[in-house]
């Protein structure tokens, strides 16, 4: 059975391109969310095997907050963070909060896949 991925990113373009990338490589898309709140809801509802999370998103709940919430709801959730270059502070916090790994935008598809493979083999 293929693994399900939840994509959380505020940019439609990023979501679409990630979707294509994942499907092409044999993953299933559990769902997508455009902000932190939606991300938390869908993570609980859809129980994905992995979540890719943009860390800087508009809205009341930032990516960082969402990571913290998702991991409190279920510590087994696996989250890979997508972050803008140089956002050191948020990255550090995300790692401390329990995110598994991170990729730096703009990411090359292979890198993201490689990171994902580590966590959902």
């Amino acid at each position: 059975m293929s693994k399900k991925i939840l994509i959380v990113d505020d940019s439609l373009f990023v979501r679409e391109s990630l979707k294509m990338l994942f499907i092409k490589n044999g993953y299933e898309i559990a769902g997508e969310a455009a902000n932190g709140e939606e991300g938390i809801k869908k993570a609980n509802l859809l129980k994905p095997d992995l979540i890719t999370m943009d860390i800087t998103m508009p809205g009341t709940i930032s990516g960082l907050e969402a990571i913290k919430q998702i991991l409190t709801d279920n510590p087994d959730n696996r989250i890979v963070v997508c972050s803008a270059m140089g956002d050191k502070y948020n990255l550090k916090e995300a790692i401390l909060a329990g995110a598994k790994d991170f990729v730096v935008k703009p990411y090359q598809p292979e890198r993201l896949l490689e990171a994902i493979k580590k966590y959902i083999a």
Binding site: K88, K92, D101, V104
Partner: protein
């Protein structure tokens, strides 16, 4: 001229640096305690103790180095393990106690005595604390046998933000390993480390109870890993890089200071010489043999000389001037220790600690200040229950401030406690026979408050560790008076007390007015003089006991005839022929009667030679321009 500074420069430097480090340590520890953020100071304490350990070991002060080492151990543990729930208060106590011990030893070394006190109790305590902490730590993650590993890893090219990746590795590693050290350090803060990791890889050393296979598995889980080297060590070795970078950092912060340390003896000698120079200059330019000669170019040159010598004098004086910062910082510590012990919540506010005063004053102001602050804490401030009842903020407040006004420095200690109860003071004074019954009715508020300065006065029944048995306040007053200062009390019952200490900015050189009485000359500090005038005989009032007073603008002031007081022979006996000088001290005014004024001059204060027995009303002596001696009058003593 040789000075008897025999001590080696190295030792001197050691003492200087250690003291400075300790002060830094104390300050930051107290600061962090105030903010309840202990993490901040862990590195600082570790660094300070580390430096003290190595330098004292180098100087063969093994007792200091042992102690510093044990504190370093403790903080090493805190730094690495970051245990969450520990009693930082107790640890802070230990650090401060250790700092005190080291300070004591340094003081001994400074005096040239042998420092051989062994800090056995303290090291034992620290070790116990550490052992306890470690036990707790082990409880949470039981570890059996430790293996030591050294790991070098490289990330794939272009995976970006290598420093944060390294940080993530360290973070994850903490779950399975302890005593993690890594190079480059500062990966969280310093982006330049990215380059180092790119080039040299990321070096880690740690201990873990996991087997080599498990460690390998752990690292293989990390994304974007290009190269991995794991080395198992038998012994835990410090990563050489780490020590190197640390010592480099220390070196650079030492270099930033723009100070040189000079032995105070040399400064004093310089000051003495400058004092002599000022006098010698006056001796030349005001030489009686020049009288009546027209020497234009001579006077021009002499004026230039005068200008330079005065500038030189100012600079020499300023070299002895130190800010009150250190003294005030010490008080922070005092307040902290005491408030912990007696269980009162107190906040100490400090203002104007940059005010500069003479070194001599700094040395002598500390004890009286300590006493005043202790009193404020112990007697002045109520405990939190009482404060709540009185609708005061639970946290008591003590304000310590300094400012310079004119030639004086005012240091005030203010508390918002219960104030001085005048009736209690009077009752106690009567009980101890310090005043006669009925006397209190004629006393002003200020005078009643001043009763607490009398020897043997104490309104506190219990004697505590901190506030003494009523021997204090009179000693405070004596110490302050020794510095040429005095002390004022303002107090409102129920609202608080203010002690204001007034001390002269400097003791060495004063502006004085020289007056003549018969053949002798006297110098009156300019700050004390209100006015000088010729009196008319109608203004004089003679009391039945023969004492004279003068009426000036509706006020009556007593007259002190200096020639009578010092038994000088002078032809000028009538008030109209001489001159009256109105002088003030502490709000009290008298008029001094002298023959004539000789002029205003800066004079260098010299103590009276020891073979002269104590003469009332003299503060010292000085040399005048013509080489003769002038006695400096102590106005406060004359008024009393």
């Amino acid at each position: 001229m040789s000075c008897n500074i025999e001590r080696e420069p190295l030792l001197e430097m050691f003492i200087f640096e250690t003291n400075q480090l300790l002060m830094q340590l104390e300050e930051s520890v107290l600061e962090s305690e105030k903010k309840h953020n202990y993490q901040l100071t862990i590195d600082e304490v570790f660094r300070v103790m580390h430096s003290i350990k190595s330098s004292s070991a180098m100087m063969l002060f093994n007792n200091i180095s042992t102690l510093a080492h044990s504190v370093e151990d403790l903080y090493y543990f805190l730094r690495k393990e970051k245990p969450a729930e520990i009693d930082y208060g107790a640890i802070t106590d230990l650090v401060l106690e250790s700092a005190d011990f080291i300070k004591r030893q340094i003081a001994l070394i400074e005096k040239g005595e042998k420092s051989d006190e062994q800090p056995i109790d303290l090291t034992q305590k620290i070790k116990e604390t550490l052992a306890k902490l470690k036990k707790e730590e082990i409880k949470t993650s039981p570890k059996v046998a430790f293996n030591f590993y050294q790991v070098n890893l490289c990330f794939e090219d272009g995976c970006q933000m290598e420093n944060v990746r390294a940080f993530a590795v360290v973070h994850k590693l903490q779950e399975i390993a302890s005593k993690i050290e890594y190079y480059p350090q500062n990966i969280e803060e310093d982006d330049e480390t990215t380059e180092i990791i790119k080039k040299e890889g990321f070096h880690l050393s740690f201990s873990s109870h996991k087997t080599r296979e498990e460690i390998e598995k752990f690292f293989s889980q990390i994304a974007f890993l290009k190269k991995l080297q794991i080395k198992q060590l038998n012994k835990y070795e410090d990563n050489k890089h780490i020590n190197k970078s640390e010592s480099k950092k220390e070196f650079s912060c030492c270099q930033k200071k723009n100070f040189i340390s000079v032995h105070v003896q040399k400064v004093d000698q310089l000051l003495n010489l400058v004092g002599e120079l000022v006098v010698a200059e006056a001796m030349v330019t005001k030489n009686p043999e020049l009288a009546g000669l027209h020497l234009d170019s001579f006077y021009k040159a002499a004026r230039q000389l005068g200008k330079i010598s005065h500038e030189l004098q100012d600079i020499a004086m300023s070299m002895r001037m130190l800010p009150l910062t250190d003294t005030f910082q010490k008080m922070k510590r005092l307040v902290r220790d005491m408030s912990r012990k007696i269980g009162k919540e107190v906040e100490l506010e400090i203002y104007g600690q940059e005010t500069e005063v003479d070194k001599n004053i700094i040395e002598h102001i500390s004890d009286p200040l300590i006493h005043l602050i202790r009193n404020a804490l112990d007697h002045g401030l109520e405990n939190s229950m009482e404060r709540k009842e009185k609708n005061k903020p639970v946290q008591g407040k003590i304000i310590l401030s300094a400012k310079s006004i004119g030639g004086d420095v005012w240091i005030t200690v203010q508390d918002d406690g219960k104030g001085i109860d005048k009736e209690k003071v009077v009752a106690r004074a009567l009980e101890n026979g310090l005043i006669a019954p009925g006397e209190e009715k004629e006393m002003s508020e200020q005078q009643i408050h001043s009763l607490i300065f009398l020897p043997g006065f104490s309104t506190k029944e219990q004697v505590t560790e901190f506030s003494g048995r009523g021997v204090g306040m009179d000693v405070v007053l004596k110490n302050i008076e020794k510095l040429g200062g005095n002390i004022l009390i303002e107090s409102i019952l129920g609202q608080g007390t203010i002690f204001s200490i007034k001390i002269p900015l400097t003791l060495a050189i004063i502006d004085g007015m020289t007056i003549k009485v018969g053949k002798a000359s006297y110098t009156v500090p300019l700050t004390a003089i209100k006015q000088s005038f010729r009196a008319l005989s109608e203004q004089i009032i003679i009391a039945p006991d023969g004492s004279e007073s003068i009426l000036v603008r509706g006020n009556c002031y007593p007259i002190l005839r200096l020639h009578n007081f010092y038994k000088n022979i002078t032809n000028i006996q009538s008030i109209e022929e001489g001159i009256l000088m109105m002088v003030e001290n502490d709000g009290q005014i008298i008029c001094l009667f002298a023959d004539c004024l000789l002029g205003q001059q800066q004079v260098v204060v010299k103590p009276l030679p020891k073979f002269i027995k104590k003469v009332d009303g003299l503060a010292g002596c000085t040399l005048l321009a013509d080489g003769s001696i002038s006695l400096i009058l102590d106005i406060s003593a004359l008024i009393n």
